[in-house]
Every structure is written in structure tokens, then in C-alpha cells.
């Protein structure tokens, strides 16, 4: 379980943000197996929060516990980083090696895992993200979505309990975005991996079990996608979008039709419209 208790953070003095808190009193509990999406507009602190989960940043105030291990404890740093895999936005800037399988092997090599065990983990991780066929390829010849899946495999090879993805689809085309999301969903549903997805695409957040909405370093809304997105007006006032399905329902309601407003998936949306006909 990940526990964040009254977390505050501000960038070191001398920086532009010297006075303002980037994170301002955050409390979260994330249960094993959960799929949590964190949304918020630029500068809401969501990436800063993500960097606290594996000790890249340390709290200025409050605590972050990973399975009751304190991230502020230097001695536990590598164990925490092994348990919390982190995938970043730009796939090019997180691939280290010139061959896919060598890159996936990077983390277990760092951890001093025995060669046969590394082989096993690399094969498993590449199969889990559907990149096993490309294991001997050079990363720069892969598409954006494929590179990002390799990056996910590189993290999986540490056998983490949690995966934090910091806007993993922001630089991808729609096809790549789909590939990465399907991979993340599969890991959550089939491998029971706990997933924390930082994103600004509401369609992605709609797939999660729970959505956290951040603004000005605080969590200002949370709940199931249904519970959150039904408050479309509040979200819009924060400069956030709502999924198109919800958008459509609001438009229909405004046109005087009696429809439910919490249709997150396209199927629910279709059913609701069918009721009208």
C-alpha cells in the first residue's frame, strides 16, 4: 500500500517558485491492485507528486510510505525504487541501451540479479508488453508507442509492485496512445499491478478505478470516474476537459432531453441514447 500523509513540497530557495508550495498538504492511500489516475492542468503539481512515489523528490513536509517504507530513508532508496517503477513522458530519454533486450535488462543488472534470472525477467517483461518479437531491434527504429512499451518492460523487469506513469502518452500519436493504454490496462487486470497514471487525457482517466483531480498542489476532487466526471462544470472551471461521452450528455441535456449525465464509457453513452429513441 502507498500512503501519502500531509505531503508538502516546494522547490529549493533561489528558484522562481521559492515562495509557493507546489504540493500543499496531500493525503492519499493507494491499495494494492488499484488503478488510480491523477489529472490536473499544467502546474497543478501532479508530476511533482509522481516524483515523490519513488524518492526522486523527498517531502519538504509530511511523509510518503511505500509498503510502510519511508521514502526519506536513504538506506531504503533502492528497495523503494525497485518496488515503484517509474515511466516518463519522453520514451527516447529513458532508453539506455542500443538493443531492446539490453535495455530491459538494465534495471535487473543494476540490482545485481543473476544472469539466468535476468534472462527470465527480460523475456517475461517483453512478452507482457507484447514486444518480445522486437527484442533484438535497435530502439530508434521503433515507433513511439513501441518505445514506450519497451520503457514499461524496462520497469517491469524490476518486478515492481507499483507502476507510476508520468504522462506516458503525451508525446504519442493516437495509435501509440492506444497501445500504451492497452498495455497498462492489461498489467493492471491480468498481472494485478498497482497502476498510478498521471495524465491530462480524460479518456485515459476514465479507465481508472479512481480519479484524483489536482489543483494548486491540492487534491480537490476524487472518486470513481463517474463520480468525478459528473461534476463537469467544476472540472471545466479548473481548465480541465471532460470525456466526450459526458460532453455529449450535457449537450443533450441542454437541448432539453432527459438523460443521465454520468455516462463514462461509449457503451453507457449509447445505451442512454437508445433509451431516448
Amino acid at each position: 500500500m502507498i500512503q501519502v500523509e500531509n505531503l508538502t513540497y516546494r522547490y529549493p530557495k533561489g528558484d522562481d517558485h521559492a515562495q509557493t508550495y507546489v504540493l500543499d498538504g496531500i493525503d492519499i492511500k493507494i491499495q494494492p491492485g488499484e488503478f488510480v489516475a491523477v489529472v490536473g492542468h499544467n502546474g497543478s503539481g501532479k508530476s511533482t507528486l509522481a516524483k515523490h512515489f519513488n524518492g526522486i523528490l523527498l517531502p519538504a513536509g509530511g511523509k510518503v510510505y511505500i509498503d510502510s517504507l519511508d521514502t526519506a530513508d536513504r538506506a531504503l532508496l533502492f528497495e523503494i525504487r525497485r518496488r515503484v517503477g517509474m515511466v516518463f513522458q519522453n520514451p527516447d530519454n529513458q532508453i539506455v541501451a542500443t538493443i531492446v533486450e539490453e535495455d530491459v535488462a538494465f534495471a535487473p543488472e543494476n540490482l545485481g540479479v543473476a544472469p539466468e534470472e535476468i534472462r527470465r525477467r527480460v523475456d517475461w517483461a517483453l512478452k507482457a508488453v507484447g514486444m518480445y518479437d522486437k527484442r533484438m531491434h535497435a530502439p530508434h527504429l521503433l515507433s513511439g508507442g513501441q518505445k514506450q512499451r519497451v520503457a514499461i518492460a524496462g520497469v517491469l523487469a524490476m518486478t515492481p509492485a507499483y507502476i507510476v506513469l508520468d504522462e506516458p502518452t503525451a508525446m504519442l500519436d493516437p495509435v501509440g496512445r492506444r497501445e500504451v493504454l492497452d498495455t497498462v490496462l492489461k498489467l493492471n487486470r491480468q498481472e494485478h499491478m498497482t497502476v498510478i497514471l498521471i495524465t491530462h487525457f480524460m479518456e485515459e482517466a476514465a479507465l481508472a478505478d479512481r480519479v484524483l483531480v489536482m489543483q494548486d498542489g491540492r487534491i480537490c476532487m476524487q472518486g470513481t470516474p463517474k463520480e468525478v466526471f459528473v461534476q463537469a462544470r467544476a472540472l471545466k472551471s479548473m481548465g480541465l476537459d471532460v470525456p466526450q461521452t459526458i460532453e455529449l450528455m450535457y449537450a443533450l441535456k441542454a437541448a432539453g432531453l432527459n438523460v443521465a449525465l454520468d455516462t463514462v464509457t461509449a457503451e453507457e453513452c449509447a445505451e442512454e441514447i437508445m433509451k431516448l429513441i
Binding site: N54, F78, F88, D92, V96, T98, A107, P108, H140
Partner: protein
């Protein structure tokens, strides 16, 4: 243009030369490059020629492909030859357009040697890079330098830097192309003017390229730390290196042939 350079590229294959332990290959290449400068007489170079062509043939690489690697060095080779022909003191062979600049017999000999040495050096060393993947090369280097860690040689760090550099060459090339296009779209002119003007025109390419590279380096460092990178201490490797008996045998044969090339020169034959 940059794509034509065969020097330092990898030519995938599965020949005995490709499969040879990279550590031995690196050592043999060093031996080859050193001995080239001890060879006297054309017979010695004849032996080296047969050896080099033999290895290239065994590796299954077309000889013209390897020789193309000499192209970027054409100017250097011609320049070296010219300097040697005209600057070596000795018996005058001919004068250049009746000027005091004279070519000497000794100079011509010297020039031929230098051209042979340089060409074999480039061709021979490119066989190493053509037949070993970058990963194998950096791994081999790391392990060869391993014993020197005790006297402070950062073997792991050197290998890591090399492999990251190799990894980012295509990425940065792509970025350079993008920047060039972007600057051209803003009206930048890279093709006209003298050499100084053109050099100056590169500034709007280099500045964003360097900024981008630093930003990438930052993010990469973060990603590496997130994957528990902590330097070379206690690191294991996915691929283990095995030196087989046939590796040792072929290395011994190669060393013998090279030694023979040096010896025939000293025996005064030709």
C-alpha cells in the same frame, strides 16, 4: 553524406569473425595497429594484405564496402603522401614545374609506406567495428579495462558513456534534421556565402541542439536513477562472455601471421 561513412558501423552477420570474443578482437586490433608501424619491406605488407583480405572474406563482408571506409580519409592520405614525397631529404627524383620543390626517391618510398600503413590501419580497425555490435564492443572494453580499476581507471563509466553516446547518435541526428528544417522555415540560409558565413550560420542549429542534449541528459539521468542505477558496483550482466578454444586458436593464428609479417621485413627479403 553522413550515412556513407562505413567507419564505426556494424555489419550484422554470424561469421566466425563476428562470433569471436570481443575482448580478443579488441586486443588483436591493437596488436595489428601497432605492428603495422614495425613492418619493413613490401613483402611484409603483402602478408598483411593477404591476412586483412582473408579476415574480411571470412567475415563475409564485401571488400569494396570496407574500402569505402577510406573515402572520408582520402584527403588525409593524399596530404600525408604529398608531404612525404616532397619533404624527405635524399636523392632528387624529379622537380615540380622547375621549382626548388623536389621529390626524392626516399620520399616516394616513404609516401608509399605511409599510405599503406594508414589504409591498413583504417581498414583493419574498421573490421573490428564492422563485426562487433556496439554492445559487444563496450562490454569487451569494460572487461578488458576491469583489472585497471584498481589504479583508478573508471572502466564501467567509460563503457557506459560510450554506449549512451552510441545510443543517442541516431536520436540527435534526427533532432538536428528537425532543427535544420525549422530554421529553414524561418528563413535561415545554410547554403550560400563563404566558409565563415556558413560556419556562423550553424549557430542557430548548434544552440538548440546542445540545449536539447542537456535536457535529454537530465531526463535520462532521472530515468536511470529510477531504475536503480548506482554505477558499476555489484552490477551483473545479462550476457556473459565466453572465450572458447576456437577463439583462442584463431587469435593465436592471427598473432602468428602478424608476427611473420614483421619478421619477413627484418630478414631483409625484398
Amino acid at each position: 553524406m553522413l550515412k556513407d561513412i562505413t567507419l564505426g558501423q556494424y555489419y550484422p552477420g554470424n561469421s566466425p569473425v563476428h562470433r569471436m570474443d570481443p575482448r580478443l578482437k579488441i586486443l588483436l586490433t591493437v596488436l595489428y595497429a601497432t605492428l603495422l608501424f614495425f613492418i619493413k619491406g613490401f613483402l611484409g605488407y603483402g602478408v598483411v594484405f593477404i591476412f586483412t583480405v582473408g579476415v574480411i572474406g571470412l567475415a563475409g563482408i564485401p571488400v569494396p564496402y570496407v574500402v569505402r571506409g577510406l573515402r572520408p580519409l582520402f584527403f588525409v592520405i593524399v596530404f600525408t603522401a604529398a608531404i612525404n614525397i616532397f619533404m624527405t631529404p635524399g636523392r632528387t627524383a624529379f622537380r615540380l614545374f622547375d621549382t626548388p620543390i623536389a621529390a626524392t626517391h626516399e620520399g616516394i618510398y616513404m609516401a608509399v609506406y605511409m599510405v599503406l600503413r594508414l589504409s591498413f590501419l583504417v581498414v583493419g580497425t574498421s573490421v573490428l567495428t564492422l563485426t562487433s555490435s556496439p554492445v559487444a564492443l563496450t562490454d569487451g572494453l569494460e572487461r578488458l579495462l576491469g583489472p585497471f580499476k584498481k589504479i583508478g581507471v573508471p572502466a564501467h563509466e567509460i563503457a557506459m558513456m560510450m554506449s549512451i553516446a552510441i545510443r543517442f547518435i541516431p536520436t540527435l541526428m534526427e533532432e538536428t534534421q528537425k532543427i535544420i528544417k525549422a530554421q529553414k522555415a524561418r528563413g535561415a540560409d545554410f547554403e550560400s556565402g563563404n566558409i565563415f558565413r556558413r560556419a556562423k550560420a550553424l549557430t542557430p542549429i548548434l544552440v538548440p541542439l546542445f540545449m536539447g542534449a542537456f535536457r535529454r541528459a537530465d531526463e535520462l539521468a532521472l530515468a536511470m536513477e529510477s531504475r536503480c542505477y548506482n554505477g558499476g558496483e555489484n552490477r551483473t550482466r545479462l550476457k556473459q562472455m565466453h572465450m572458447t578454444l576456437s577463439d583462442c586458436l584463431s587469435a593465436a593464428i592471427a598473432a602468428l601471421v602478424l608476427a611473420a609479417a614483421v619478421t619477413v621485413g627484418y630478414m631483409g627479403i625484398l
